[in-house]
């Protein structure tokens, strides 16, 4: 160091710029060059000024910047190209392995995409209403009942609006009983989607009008709105506004003229109720015989009541005032009645109460499907981890070479993570394609209108992109860190052993996890199917086989049943015929029944239906006490009822026959008690039911018991007779057992979806096992060859190979069974009538997994056992 330099004060260059310089310079240059830069910087300061030095230093760096960037991009591109080349070579060389690695996650991702679409759709129900957060459905707990009911009294809606300022709007909604015949000109169709609603309806819900005036749309009696779809069906290109359409009414037997006040946009499918025609609610005053007073009464429960609350109202606070409200309108004996507000958006996933407008879904279903999606993804990605670890020995030489020529650990980690990411992204692309292909089939299976448009569902794409990236990185990280930690010297000396004990434990535990999930899914599948079979085959208490059902609206036929019945009975293949208001599966009307018990007045809600003389015979329902309706007792036509056992029990008399009941003010005599039968779905207990004899009116259904041997001919016979007796009305026969099956559609759907998903899960697990077995086999090739030379036969070798997996499987079964039992016993609690979870389910699920696994492994074992030992020993 010279004297001059010692006396001098030296300046540091700008530190940030210096840092950039350090980054940009290659390792071998840092010392010399950055020193040089600093020296020149100091020279500038000496000769010129600090500012000039600063500018020079920065200029030097900035001038190099574009070059530096293009350089580094170029070289990382070169590296990437190399990685890709190696990746593609490996992909081609190990086709089976690549297939498993892509197909597994692809199947997993497709399943979870489908499920997510479904779940998203389920959550979208009723959310499109502008006021959705402030709309509530009023639930009532009827007297003596312990479950909430969605039906309420007619005057409730108006009274709520009058008494509570918090209730801004309120409406009643009621579905027309059964179907009606809608007529315009020559067009005449049975229509199911006819609803009644109050004027506020359109202001509460967001069902926009295409044309027509909203404020008066539902004001006057006999006003009608219809949907675009229906407008097209009946009017074609005509403008329907102001036109008159006729609807035939169940209540009044008559045809009524309705004036069309507006056309609604089609109702979105993700609504908890959908309708085609909307009639003004006050129309009902004219339809019912008793007029307005018979409708506006607090004595029975019929419509659903919806309210729109003030946005700043706490619904809980409002509910607190309901007790006083009910007492005001229903008197002191309303003590045990309750009222509750159910948010609109909770309805669809809130499960089914009785008398829902349409079948709802259930939160539990969502949980179940989400769990499946999650588990299938896990199985698929566990495959990746397991196979990569098992196969890492194959890559060891490559890793060794890379390390020798200077790759550092982080580069290798990046390479292997990148590979798993590519696998994952390939899987994503394939699954997007696959989902597009199977979506229509899946939609029809679960009966939802699912669509996938990636541009509209950006959130969906984003979710799956992040799942893919996350799962790809996560599943790639263990193999990546394992592989990058290999010591090149060990690899080259061939002392590296992947098949060490600890990694075998790791591998096997992943296999166990996969089989645990598979076996749980199998248990679920079996239980669901058992329950479905149980429901299908359970004795419902009435005969449901070979019963042809025919619906009619023909009043002429209804008034004059006997000749038709007689005519049909002439055919020896027709064993019986009865007309009734409901089929045993469609009974849903209820009314308050009053009676005296030990001098005390009592009342309860009971279902009722109308039947004729032959109902109990055709359906083979036993009369326990008393007698059936009979033509010998003329009074039966006016005041006789038959109860079911439950109703009789509820009334509390030892012998109810001969006692009296009051329904809506009219007096009835009990003449008999029938055995209970399940007239509702098996989700529920049998409810009290009152049979009323009701001649010549309002019988909607014929139930015709036919001989099973000659059904097509019998049907043709019935149709022929139908055409002579009821020429104007269509003949639409159905079978009762099919109608019953429809009730359990949700369960059936669940069952079918579970079948598919379980099969896929098991397939992915076995796919993984197949790959794993084939790689481990390769490691054991020498061992097997030596054993064969020493005299091991085919059986020995198969057992040797399968033993390890069977141990895993056994462990998995032991873990999975209790979980499956727990989950499914919770599910079964949905049903009042349920099958048990027998030991055979567990044995069967274990056995099935065992067979699957054995088949998978045995292919490999056969290959190994039949191979010539010389081939694998020769090169030594």
């Amino acid at each position: 160091m010279t004297k001059q330099e010692k006396n001098h004060k030296f300046y540091k260059p700008p530190s940030f710029a210096e840092k950039i310089l350090q980054i940009m310079l290659s390792v071998s240059e840092i010392e010399g060059l950055s020193g040089d830069f600093e020296e020149i910087h100091n020279d500038y300061i000496e000769e010129k000024s600090k500012a000039r030095a600063w500018i020079w230093y920065w200029a030097q760096i900035l001038a190099y910047f574009p070059r530096y960037i293009s350089n580094s991009v170029y070289w990382s591109f070169q590296m990437l190209r190399n990685y890709l080349r190696i990746f593609i070579r490996n992909l081609k060389r190990h086709k089976g392995y690549s297939f498993i690695n892509i197909a597994g996650p692809a199947i997993g991702l497709s399943c979870s995409m489908l499920i997510l679409l479904f779940v998203k759709y389920e959550f979208s129900y009723d959310k499109y209403h502008e006021n959705a957060p402030h709309i509530y459905r009023v639930l009532r707990e009827h007297q003596g009942d312990t479950t909430w009911s969605n039906s309420s009294e007619h005057p409730l809606a108006a009274s709520l609006r009058e008494d509570f300022p918090e209730v801004i709007k309120s409406t009643r909604v009621k579905k027309n009983d059964e179907v009606g015949v809608v007529e315009y000109g020559a067009k005449r169709f049975y229509e199911e989607g006819i609803y009644f609603a109050d004027q506020d309806f359109l202001e509460i819900f967001s069902f926009p009008l295409n044309s027509g005036e909203m404020s008066t749309a539902l004001k006057d009696p006999f006003s009608e709105l219809l949907t675009q779809e229906m407008a097209g069906k009946y009017f074609g290109n005509e403008d329907p506004i102001g036109k008159i359409i006729q609807i035939e009414e169940w209540y009044s037997v008559k045809k009524y003229d309705y004036k069309i006040r507006g056309v609604l946009k089609n109702i979105p499918k993700n609504s908890h109720f959908t309708f085609d025609f909307l009639l003004s609610y006050n129309t009902m005053y004219s339809l019912k015989r008793g007029g307005k007073d018979s409708v506006e009464t607090w004595s029975y429960y019929e419509p659903k009541t919806y309210v729109k609350l003030d946005p700043y109202t706490e619904p809980k606070g409002l509910e607190g005032k309901f007790l006083a409200f009910l007492r005001k309108y229903k008197g002191e004996d309303s003590e045990s009645e309750k009222m509750h507000l159910q948010p609109l958006t909770d309805i669809h996933l809130g499960g089914n109460m009785r008398f829902e407008l349409e079948t709802n879904s259930d939160m539990r279903l969502i949980y179940m499907f989400s769990a499946i999606a999650f588990f299938i993804l896990i199985i698929a990605y566990l495959n990746y981890i397991n196979l990569s670890v098992a196969r890492s020995a194959k890559r060891a030489v490559e890793v060794g070479m890379r390390k020798v020529v200077g790759a550092n650990k982080s580069q290798l980690v990046r390479q292997f993570l990148g590979e798993s990411l590519i696998f994952s992204i390939l899987a994503l692309l394939i699954s997007l394609l696959a989902v597009n292909l199977v979506l229509p089939a899946f939609s029809s299976l679960i009966e939802r209108d699912l669509t996938l448009n990636l541009f509209h569902n950006l959130d969906f794409l984003l979710i799956f992109l992040s799942i893919t990236v996350f799962a790809g990185l996560l599943s790639g990280s263990y193999p990546a860190f394992l592989v990058s930690s290999f010591q090149p010297i060990q690899i080259i000396k061939e002392t590296l052993r992947i098949g060490t004990k600890s990694s075998a434990v790791f591998r096997n535990s992943l296999v166990v996890v996969q089989f645990v999930v598979s076996i749980i899914l199998l248990v679920c599948t079996f239980v669901i199917h058992n329950q479905l079979n149980y429901i299908r085959n359970r004795d419902l208490g009435f005969d449901k086989e070979q019963i042809v059902t025919v619906y009619t609206m023909d009043m002429n036929l209804k008034r004059n049943l006997e000749p038709f019945k007689m005519e049909l009975l002439k055919n020896p293949d027709i064993l019986g015929i009865t007309a009734s208001l409901d089929l045993p599966t469609t009974i849903r009307r209820s009314s308050t029944v009053e009676w005296d018990s030990q001098g005390e007045q009592r009342a309860s809600e009971m279902n009722f239906t109308f039947v004729d003389y032959d109902f109990f015979n055709v359906y083979d329902v036993k009369i326990e006490k008393g007698r059936n309706f009979s033509a010998e007792f003329p009074l039966d036509k006016k005041q006789a009822v038959v109860l079911n056992e439950t109703a009789a029990r509820d009334l509390g008399w030892d012998d109810p026959v001969g006692r009296r009941l009051f329904v809506q003010g009219q007096e009835w005599t009990i003449i008999g008690v029938t055995k209970d039968f399940n007239f509702q779905s098996l989700h529920w207990r049998i409810d009290p039911l009152v049979f009323v004899f009701y001649e010549n009116r309002g019988m909607d259904y014929f139930s015709i018991k036919v001989n099973p041997s000659n059904i097509p001919k019998t049907l043709a016979f019935i149709e022929e007779k139908w055409k002579t007796f009821s020429p104007e009305f269509p003949f639409q026969p159905g079978f009762l057992d099919e109608r019953i099956d429809k009730i359990y559609k949700a369960e059936q759907r669940l069952g079918e979806s579970f079948n598919i998903f379980t099969f896929l899960a098991l397939s992915i697990a076995c796919l993984g096992l197949f790959g794993l077995a084939s790689f481990l086999l390769e490691q054991k090739r020498k061992e097997i060859s030596i054993r064969k030379i020493l005299g091991a036969d085919f059986q020995n070798i198969t057992v040797l190979l399968a033993k390890e997996y069977m141990k895993c499987l056994a462990l998995a079964a032991v873990i999975a069974w209790p979980i499956g039992y727990f989950v499914m016993s919770r599910w079964l609690q949905n049903f009042v009538y349920r099958t048990g979870i027998g030991i055979e389910i567990f044995i069967l699920s274990g056995l099935l997994a065992f067979v699957f696994a054995l088949c998978t492994v045995s292919y490999q074992s056969i290959k190994a056992a039949t191979a010539n030992p010389v081939d694998s020993l020769r090169y030594e």
Binding site: M1, E5, F10, G32, L33, G35, E38, E39
Partner: protein, 106 residues
Amino acid sequence: MYALTRNEEEILLTIWNLKDDAYLVAIRKRINVVLEKKMTIGAIHIPLTRLEKAGIVESYLGEATPKRGGRRKKIYRQTKLGIELLKRYKKKRDTLWSNFSEEFLL
């Protein structure tokens, strides 16, 4: 035989002249002063790297000074090959220059 550019030739000669102090900054300064031109660092460093790669010069790390922020100098010197090359170039140049006399210019 490696063909030197004019620039490389100048750098090589400067290294020869500077002896043990032939590092980048010194080379640049010397060239700028003697040849009266302004050369950027890159204009020196890139040919130097090229020469080093070709085995004409070699480098070692020398002393550190406070002016350099305590970093050591990267000092260049000719390899045997480099000296051979210089000798050859001198011969050629001398031959070329030998008949040149200032009188002709006037």
